[in-house]
């Protein structure tokens, strides 16, 4: 039924286009960045505007260890992709496991921090503007970490089940880009909340 356009196409011309997975992830990151920017702007705008305590300086401690864990997980996930591309599936699984472990440590220490803030310092999301903006910004980031951990965990399970091979390297790379993004957001959140905002 359909008539293809029969204009002669130079056969020697190579036709290359970017991978749709990577383009799609880049778009998602653009959209997510805009969401985070709004929350960061709200945090900065309300810094020091709380009518009651506690203030950030009184209750926040620098989460150095968990930050190191999260940032190093960017390196481990990079190695996981690298090894999968070289068809070293077992090695890739080890690096993936390390990534999941480091990400989990980060989430656990966030949980511990929130437990301390809620039960010892009495800071909840309804206490004051600091509580509202702090829990929503850090919580928004933490929910992204959890989403990433679920996806990385699935990738790890599939790898352990032997369902993953070199042809999946690009998909793992798309996932790793998301993970790098989550880490980069943490650098911003860390700077704004724990350094500038304190």
């Amino acid at each position: 039924m359909s008539t293809a356009v029969a204009v002669a196409h130079q056969a020697n011309e190579e036709w290359r286009q970017p991978s749709r997975g990577i383009v799609g992830m880049a778009c998602l990151i653009a959209a997510e960045s805009a969401i985070f920017i709004i929350f960061v702007v709200a945090y900065i705008f309300y810094t020091g505007k709380s009518l009651t305590g506690p203030t950030p300086r009184e209750v926040l401690e620098l989460p150095i260890f968990s930050t190191i864990c999260l940032l190093s997980s960017s390196i481990t996930v990079h190695f996981a992709v690298h090894e999968l591309r070289a068809s070293k599936v077992r090695l890739s699984a080890w690096w993936l496991a390390a990534t999941v472990l480091l990400g989990s440590i980060f989430i656990a220490s966030t949980a511990a921090e929130w437990y301390k803030l809620i039960y010892h310092d009495g800071l909840t999301i309804r206490t004051n503007l600091f509580g509202t903006t702090f829990y929503s910004l850090v919580g928004l980031h933490a929910s992204h970490v959890i989403a990433g951990l679920i996806m990385l965990g699935l990738a790890l399970i599939f790898t352990l089940m032997g369902k993953v091979n070199q042809s999946h390297a690009e998909r793992l790379e798309v996932l790793s880009i998301y993970w790098h993004f989550v880490d980069a957001v943490w650098v911003v959140v860390f700077t704004v909340v724990y350094i500038l905002g304190r």
Partner: protein, 562 residues
Amino acid sequence: MVTQTPVTSIAGHAPASQHGSRAFDVVYDWITTVDHKKIGIMYIVYALIFLVIAGIEALLMRVQLAVPNNTFVSPQSFNRLFTMHGTTMVFFVGMPILFGFGNYLIPLMIGARDMAFPRLNAFSFWISAFSGFLLYFSYFAGSGLYGAGTAPDVGWFAYAPLTARVFSPGHSTDYWTLSVLLSSIGSLGTALNIVATTLSMRCPGMKLSRMPLLVWLYFVTSCIAFIAISPLSAAQIMLVIDRYLGGHFFDTQAGGSAVLWMHFFWIFGHPEVYILVLPAFAFANEIIPVFSRKAIFGYPAMVSATVGIGFISMGVWAHHMFTVGLGPGANAFFTLATMVIAVPTGIKIFNWLATMWGGNIHFSTPMIFSIGFLFQFLVAGLTGVMLAAAPFDWQLGNSYFVVAHFHYVLVGAILFMIFAAFYYWYPKMTGRMLSERLGKWHFWLFVIGFHLTFDFMHIPGILGMPRRIYTYEADRGWAIWNMIVSSGAIFQTIATLIFVYNLVVSYFKGAVAGPDPWDAWTLEWSTSSPPPSYNFAKTPTVESRRPLWDLKHPEEPDTQYE
């Protein structure tokens, strides 16, 4: 990247009718489809249904305002009507109808078999459809407290602190928040899909510099959507935190700021205008050249003007907030930024005129709607420049002058181009032509109705009539103008009924269109009408911006001039 599925296996495939009736199979097929054409048509039909609903809401408001001291609807109902009218028209008519056309046309125009992520496409559609349903479900389920009202009544921009629990008890505002949040997730999914399709799914030879301008404009629109719609999602999340978890983002009692909501909303709200108007420009870019029998004038200028509009649109939001009192620095900046955006827009108008200039213009229905669009959009742009001047805006902000201005854009420009797109692509989608005779009736009645309503709506605004009032005193001198404005609505209603009648009747009785009824030049016209599910039996290759021109005129192909 185009998947080379064996065509014979798809063409010979008839769904096995094992369970139940044929009607069930059809419904099952549409619900589970991931075909970009079916999803596009579902988007369009869904938007048309909401267009009729929101149109009826507008009609009710015009009846109420036709005479002074009217009691046709109660003040509470009036608040709900304008909230639902605005929210529906922006989120459940404008966005889905434009995404519907984009979904349908982009893969066909770039020679692809489907969008980059077909399942994400279906997900985006269904979540948008659900969010529209959720908004209207508030009429049945919105009253959480006795007497707290049903549908949302906070206005489509829902300024804080009116949306706080204290001032909006019950659940109607929650329905508004959640449905807008869900619809923005759907919009982001579709925007992501359009960008990935444009960058990764083009057929061989379809360089970016050869893409039809429609695809370019949808690409830019989608890029704006990432940066513009996400802030809305973020603001809605904050509102949910305020309303459900007791947060204080917009709680002025606890130091929160109502102005912050205005900023966040308009960072979305103004680029949203461009998200809606750029697809209208996209339709004009395809229709005007075909009916002028000339290639588009200034293709690179059109692309760069579009990208320019995309960038500038991010820096104009606070012109919605001049009356807040932002201070002279911000006022000057946003006044200038807003006026600057008239430059790329003007380039576009001149390019369309230059395309028509010296052309052999065919006054078919798509073209007359496009010509109507050109002149009405010019007027809309001029009142836009007037309102961009901060002192002028202090006088007329929140008056019917503003309402007239943005309806001139939304109806006079965008809706006119949507109608043009229907007349132009309906033959491709259904295989049948729309009736030209009914189309002319539709056009002329709508033009008369449009100008009666929206030209005269400027005047009560200048005379000081604020927007969103449910009635007014007889001694204000607004009565005659409101009567004229309301009478225009009758013409528009009749015209729209003719249009819907035309859509339905032509589907069964229209003249058979054939693959290329308009003698056009882009790839969608190279396949049958309606296109087969695989679009192209053989992936096309292109050598210029007008592949079908090259095919029809081998003695003088476009490739010689690029």
